[in-house]
Symmetry: C2
Subunit: 187 residues, 2 copies
Amino acid sequence: MTSREQIVTAALRRLNEEPNASMAALAEAAGVSRATLHRHFAGRQELTVAIGRLAQERWERALDEAGVDEAAASGDPARIEATLRDLLATLADVAHEYGYALTEHGLESDPELVARFERLEARELALYGAAQRAGVLRDDMPVRWVSNAVYGLLIGVRDSLRWGDVARRDVTRLLVETFLTGTGARA
Amino acid sequence: MTSREQIVTAALRRLNEEPNASMAALAEAAGVSRATLHRHFAGRQELTVAIGRLAQERWERALDEAGVDEAAASGDPARIEATLRDLLATLADVAHEYGYALTEHGLESDPELVARFERLEARELALYGAAQRAGVLRDDMPVRWVSNAVYGLLIGVRDSLRWGDVARRDVTRLLVETFLTGTGARA
């Protein structure tokens, strides 16, 4: 018996490769019939929301494991910078594994996902704000811009791996250096 | 009479606000009946492709107007840097006006859009490569990473404006500074 979670995982893997894959293709990827897929998910939107939930769980775990709340509260520059680098490295992995969920427009229509997104984003904003106050990040940029820049660069990570533009081994360094010091030669 | 192009423009404006808007909502936004919308576009995918084409025309115009090919060929650091800054400023506007097209998965299924995307991207890659050789950009990053980072940051621009996180007046500076020198305090 293929569980609901196994179907979601298999569908996600397929959608990471081809975001427009049909429900028939997703059933095939999960090794179930279309009838079974439809018994679990009334339609594409319901499956998309299940994938979004999985991605948010992974994101939440990344924030917990990096200890972002404690680091932000500490005010300690060295600790904040180490946590920020740790977090970016983990988020690069998450962006690769949950790439489809990063830009799926369907996720915006689910109020529960949106509410949880805001709670998770608030924890990151607190870390970026603490980093600005501790002198780790420039303090002349809106903290929400910093957060949106990280999100954008993670899409860059996802695409770089998806299209084979960058070696997996190099992508974290590229993300962290671009975020902290940019791509300019005279940094 | 509402022309096909007017419908595409009105639909794009609506989709920028709500990427999941229904075909009925798009017809309403364009001030036409659903029957008229369907006479122009057999379905959502056809409308999406028309929006993608419009976005690519705008992108191509941005590359032409910035003179990226000439700047890349010149090898002149000052000219390359000025062109790069000009291009980023224009692309920030394009990202705002064509935001929906930046992350619409449906565009990947159209071979013509994909082929044109690759031709346009190649012109940007040539500019980034020239910038690396001229000492404007760091030369230890794959040029395709640089391109993907720009694309990601443009999504950050789009979202920052869409959610009201950043003032329109500030967003170009934030994009250019983040791209060239990063968000770190010790740049």
